[in-house]
């Protein structure tokens, strides 16, 4: 654990990518192989199942520190991080232990599902043998939300430096459904036998948001446009004996979309397609809300299958006849993709994401305005000559989204944030007017600057009406313009609506609370958007 703590300290001490990469590369050279493997797993989001709940950890820590639990609960929001709060309150270690990262993680894996008393003893004894920095990391491994300021791309680069293997090759080896329990560093990284199954996906290519004038992109003929669909990005892998659907988060979601199973019989062997999973009815996609009923379900009841059947709209072809096509130009990949889709019998849940043709940028800009009618979020622009690159690379792929909806609302509740926003009030609940009532309808916690959050924090302290644990009810006075991507009916919220991706666009210091938007306005928007009519913004 000490070596891992040292790595963490080195990563934490710098914001320079080159220094982070070299610290990580050093670690991949000299840490024990089991620890390297676990570190790769952690940095690529492969966390062990949670062996202990956050509440259990908090209670055991308070007990070990001889503090009342209420005091722990009051302290936590100030620190803004559970793992850190625990590390800071525990009494000093009584005996030093030299267990490594992999030993601790193996213990955690073993503890999953064991009786509470056994888990408690194991955790207490682990804490007793660790210094504060190690405890913090150990707790982070349990509680999740563990970010070391290292992207998967940076990790891959460090691994490439340490091993001398090409980055793209390593990125591919790290994809898929492996766990440290089922492979070894040598097998996964050095010989790539780790996954066993042949269903391994490719790293997704990601687009960057287009903020500049598209005319700056050059001749329209160099570009391919299509709708930016509002579903779940997915990669369908069909190889000999292996059929899999991967989400962008590298989750295997094959079983959640059983309607795709027949594709295994019709797609040629050695085909990998990048596309968007959408809920679909007749000829048109359903809004994202319909697909949401499918997310998070391990099994899919018949009713849901009938109400929100899924379809894959294919964007790109990454592999054909078992050959990696990623280096070929997009135009060529797209042509092969069209041939494959055209050869499929009718009635299968796979179609092409249609090309949106355009002659010049201004007509395309007009077309984009109709994105919501097409149940899309905007347009995608891909350079016809572009390779299927790994991760996000600016220049070849752009997402050109519609402007969001906006609404002016008043802050009703404030809560302190986490991590680097610890003890700043950054998480707000907003209300709109409904007659003379204020009805809470959305939460948001991003979009303002640190200075604005600091100013609002001071304001919240002086304008608190009531405290509910970490939540403050404040004088309804501060008005914000919220942006959001969509709206849907909700039975879980008092307001009867739920917003998609709400965030703060601006602090409207110029607007009094009497001029905020109304619940009726939002309901009108709900009615118009679910009817696929082009919406008008609710904002004034």
């Amino acid at each position: 654990m000490k070596r891992f703590a040292r790595l963490f300290a080195a990563l934490d001490a710098t914001t320079r990518t080159s220094e982070k990469t070299s610290a990580l590369a050093d670690y991949f050279r000299d840490a024990p192989e089991e620890d390297r493997l676990w570190t790769i797993a952690l940095l690529s989001g492969r966390r062990p199942k949670r062996a202990v709940t956050a509440t259990e950890l908090a209670q055991w820590a308070a007990e070990a520190a001889d503090l009342p639990y209420w005091l722990f609960e009051e302290t936590y929001p100030v620190v803004g991080d559970l793992a850190e709060t625990i590390a800071l309150i525990l009494p000093p270690p009584d005996q030093a232990q030299a267990q490594g990262l992999s030993e601790h993680l193996t213990t955690l894996v073993r503890l999953t599902g064991r009786p509470a008393e056994e888990r408690k003893q194991a955790i207490l004894s682990a804490w007793a043998g660790m210094e504060q920095d190690e405890r913090f990391l150990f707790n982070k491994l349990i509680t999740g939300g563990f970010r070391m300021g290292v992207s998967q791309g940076l990790m891959t680069r460090a691994l490439a430096q340490a091993t001398g293997l090409p980055e793209t090759e390593l990125a591919h080896r790290l994809m898929g459904d492996w766990t440290p329990a089922r492979t070894s560093y040598a097998a996964l990284i050095l010989s790539n036998e780790g996954t066993g199954a042949g269903a391994q996906p490719y790293p997704f290519a990601l687009a960057s948001p287009l903020e500049a004038d598209p005319a700056a992109l050059g001749p329209p003929a160099d570009w391919f446009a299509e709708w930016k669909w509002d579903g779940i990005r997915g990669q369908l892998v069909n190889r000999r004996g292996a059929f899999a659907l991967w989400s962008r988060g590298e989750d295997l979601v094959t079983d959640r979309f059983p309607e795709f199973a027949p594709l295994a019989d019709f797609l040629p062997e050695g085909t990998v397609i990048d596309g968007e999973v959408l809920a679909w009815r007749g000829e048109t996609p359903l809004p994202f809300a319909a697909l949401q009923t499918r997310i998070g379900r391990k099994t899919v009841p018949k009713k849901v299958l009938a109400e929100a059947p899924a379809r894959l709209l294919a964007y790109d072809l990454l592999e054909a006849d078992g050959r990696d096509l990623r280096a070929a130009p997009f135009a060529e990949r797209r042509a092969r993709l069209e041939e494959i889709v055209a050869a499929l019998p009718a009635g299968l849940p796979l179609g092409l994401s249609p090309e949106v043709s355009f002659m010049d940028w201004s007509t395309l800009a007009e077309t984009r305005q109709g994105a919501r009618d097409a149940v899309a979020e905007g347009l995608m622009l891909k350079r016809r000559s572009s390779a299927y690159f790994t991760g996000r690379k600016r220049g070849d792929w752009w997402k050109w989204k519609l402007d969001p909806f906006t609404v002016d609302a008043v802050m009703l509740y404030a809560q302190a944030g986490h991590g680097r926003r610890a003890s700043l009030f950054t998480d707000f609940t907003f209300a709109v007017r409904d007659g003379d009532q204020l009805v809470p309808f959305a939460k948001a916690y991003s979009g303002l600057t640190d200075e604005e959050f600091a100013e609002i924090t001071r304001w919240v302290r002086q304008n608190t009406l009531e405290r509910f644990g970490p939540v403050r009810r404040v004088t309804p006075e501060l008005v914000f313009e919220l942006a959001f991507e969509g709206i849907q009916a909700s039975t879980r919220h008092k307001s009867g609506i739920a917003l998609r991706f709400p965030r703060m666009l601006r602090w409207r210091r110029d607007k009094p609370v009497t001029e905020i938007d109304t619940l009726d306005g939002l309901k009108t928007l709900l009615a118009t958007t679910s009817g696929h009519v082009h919406p008008s913004n609710t904002g004034a």
């Binding site: 209420w70 100030v78 800071l88 991590g419 610890a422 700043l424 600091a454 924090t457």
Partner: protein
Amino acid sequence: MTRQPLLTFTDRGIFCPEGGFYIDPWRPVDRALITHGHSDHARPGHRSYLSTEAAAPVIRHRLGPIQLETVAYGAPQQIGAVTVSFHPAGHVPGSAQIRVERGGEVWVVSGDYKTEVDGLSEPFEPVRCNTFISECTFGLPVFRWAPQAEVMARINRWWAANAAEGRVSILGAYALGKAQRLMLGIDQTIGPLLTHGAVEETTAILRAQGYPLPATTRVTAGIDAKSHPGALVIAPPGAEATPWANRFGAFASAFASGWMQIRGIRRRRGASTGFVVSDHADWPGLNAAIRETGASRVYVTHGYTQVFRRWLAEQGYDAGIVATEYEGEGIETAAEGMIEEPGP
């Protein structure tokens, strides 16, 4: 007949009706007793001031021509119907707790204090009392300070590593107390020691009073990374983000504060390093200090007052809160200190 309390809490600050004076008031009053020279305690506009001899020079420097009387630590003074004395608080040089007695009943106002001996400030002295008014800036159990020697060693390692890379180190610290504590505690053999003007002013005053401070060089025109390679520059927090710092090229920066205990607050400062050095008592320090007063009644102020009051009540104290103006939880001070240039 019940007499009115020895000290009362008013919208100008803590008031002693029978002595006719206020302690660290925040609005202009006739007679103010001042615990120490930090600007949230020693405010301008009072008709007369009383402080320790040791605190007076800085207070005079900061407030200009004021009517200021001084008193030695421990010397009792009759004011109206009460007896008043000042006792070391260990917070910064010259800082005091103020003891107020009337017919055997004793109240003590702690001001800001710390229990660890920092080698510069007059060490904290527990004063027996019936009622103790205690600050609780760091009144949560996550605030526990490592011994000073350990932190100084960390700062030395950081400075030495920067110097070895040919970089200047800028260490942010409040200009009164923290800055001098650091210059005294670090290893002066590592490299030259420079000060920002705001730090040097206070340092010169304390040095003239006889506090054993090392020689420092004020940063003026012509002093930069070339003239003083590998130097340690002690500056008010935030100075590293101003054009003033450009002369030091690719310097490394750090901030020394109790708030650096919290990773989230550290991270808000971006690339700079955090050292946990506070002139306030930590959680064990607060609890020990309160215990040693023997007080049965404790009022808390400045900091996590609600939480700390509840904790003390559970420990069997008759515990209350003294509200102060503009008071948030203490972290607010930190946020301001980090974002804005601190006061003189």
